[in-house]
Amino acid sequence: MKHKHISLSDCSLRDGNHAVKHQLNVEQIANYCKGADRAGLDIVEVGHGYGLGASSSAFGVAKVDDETMLSVARENCKTSKLGIHFVPGVGKHSDLDMAIEIGVDVFRIASHCTESNITYRPIQYLKAKGKMVYGVLIMSHMADAERLLKEASGMKAAGADGIVLMDSAGYSTPDVVSEKVSVLHENLGITIAYHAHNNLGLAVANSIAAVESGAEIIDATIKGFGAGSGNTQLEAVVAVFERYGYEMNVKFKDLVNLSLYAESNIISSVPDIKAINIMTGMHGLFTGYGTYVQKVSSDFGVDIFDLCERLASRKLVASQEDIILEEASKMAKGVV
């Protein structure tokens, strides 16, 4: 298995946007893309944390609009492919048209892991235009391997070139990752990508388990910059893959400057594992809720851990911030 080729999809400018409440600016996007391109990263994903068309009161208003973000990134990514994240029901087909117009190369069409049939139409729409399309299964800890295979098979039938499994709550452990990735890899015959979060300190380990089980693309971010306690740290995972002898277009030494740039110009606080991140991880809540849960619990003066428990009992999926607000207001009024 060693000596196979691994591609790196850098989502620092998309998942990282969650970490700064979607306030990445044009200069940061331009400079980071230039550096990532120079370092040889395969794919650079850019946008609002929740993807195209997601800038909103519910999810946070982005500092820079989608079109500007993508245009700036496109100008600065000469060899790296430019990627976007898109969730049907959040973004519109007109947003996809805009991205096609700007010259986005990789389209990642996402749904909650049990609802993949909502992605069929946009996948077919983009494949008809000859684009590279991945089907993304969000919150993949909420379905077993068999169900994930069923959902992924539907995306493949709709035309997806590959499947991305996202551990959006940072809930998974390496044994579970190996099982799920193996099942998809052995049964689908298309590229599998893995996207980890670090709530339990397992993002790098989970990414290695994914590659050893057949994944060929790994999502990672500079210094782990991403929602909640962040993602797989790009520099670290590349160093490990080098030691294991995997082939990559990117070398660890080329990431040193990018890491230093990001440290002094983009990342206001380096992601670490706070108690709230472990709490959301344990409860299987979307990791991006960490900051919002903190804000809302302090605004309404309610206990943060009680709030997490109540949200977990309502089985929230990703992008349900409005329910967090409603639950906190109910708690503040003493409604059971």
Partner: protein
């Protein structure tokens, strides 16, 4: 006579409409038509003693003088075909598909002004849930600049048509939000949640506006919620308006009546209940001729 109803489409929406029409005092259900005589909906209709036909639109055309109001619960493409027939015979139709060829209607906002319209479109479930709130807000401030609506529905209440038409759902809801509030910009988001037991529909409205009169907003919201409750008893305010300078946030939960569909399907119930409200109103307008029928009379 002006209250005779026909339903075209025997899926879950058509069946729920059938149950609601049967139990509506003012309405008289005449036909349920579809395309397959062995469909579960058709069997259900026969079981309840309703006259059925698998000849669909051609049966309705052959019997065009036998009904006054038709609910179209098929698909957008089919509705375009069907409306050629309805239009030829000047037949009143309530369209539950996303075809959008008729006038957009939310009963508590504009039903009275549409009494002469022949084709009424009910927008989307998120539209029916949020537009009453958006309209209450518009009447409580100087100007709505931006309005956004996020709805969560249970996976089991989201059929294939909903899933394939998410883009149309978002576009139609955003269009209606602007139309009914005069906002410059709008945004709609739909979330599908697979939790079991199923979550009921919940809709949150966020807005930015100029000079909100908080007391007036609270009154207007309470009044409109009360009015919607007349046709959707499970429509409840769960987040009273939070006002922070020009930003307003409020939310409702929508439980269905459980007529044919489970109670958690508030999203399907609210659009069907709106259809019944429109039909009752129309039958009264026709019965009383030119005398103005108020919205309260229409809803009863």
């Amino acid at each position: 006579m002006s209250n005779r109803v026909a339903i075209i489409g025997t899926g879950s929406i058509g069946m729920d409409l059938m149950c609601k029409t049967i139990s509506s005092k003012g309405l008289d259900l005449r036909f349920v038509v579809g395309r397959r005589s062995d469909s579960p909906g058709m069997k259900e209709a026969m079981l309840r003693g309703v006259a059925t036909s698998s000849e669909g639109i051609s049966y309705l055309e052959d019997n065009i003088e036998e009904f006054d109001i038709v609910f179209d619960a098929t698909s957008a493409n089919s509705h375009v075909e069907h409306d050629r027939v309805f239009s030829k015979h000047n037949k009143f139709v309530v369209d539950l598909t996303p075809a959008k060829i008729g006038e957009l209607c939310v009963p508590v906002i504009n039903m009275e002004s549409l009494k002469d319209s022949r084709n009424i479109n009910l927008i989307t479930c998120g539209g029916q849930a949020s537009l009453p709130l958006a309209y209450a807000l518009k009447n409580s401030c100087e100007k709505v600049m931006y309005v956004e609506v996020i709805s969560s529905i249970s996976s089991d209440s989201a059929g294939i048509a909903t899933r394939e038409n998410l883009n149309e759902y978002v576009e139609t809801t955003e269009f209606a939000l602007k139309k009914f509030t005069d906002a410059e910009a709008s945004k709609a988001i739909l979330n599908i949640n697979p939790a079991v037991p199923q979550v009921c529909m919940q809709t949150t409205l966020y807005a930015r506006c100029e000079k909100v009169d908080i007391e007036r907003l609270e009154n207007n919201v309470n009044n409109v919620v009360k009015k919607v409750k007349e046709y959707v008893p499970g429509y409840n305010l769960v987040l009273e308006p939070l006002v922070d300078s020009g930003s307003v946030t409020l939310a409702v939960q929508v439980y269905g009546s459980g007529d044919y569909l489970p109670e958690y399907s508030g999203n399907l119930d609210i659009i069907n209940s709106a259809a019944i409200a429109v039909a009752k109103f129309k039958s009264k307008v026709s019965a009383f001729g030119s005398r103005a029928v108020t919205i309260e009379e229409g809803l009863v």
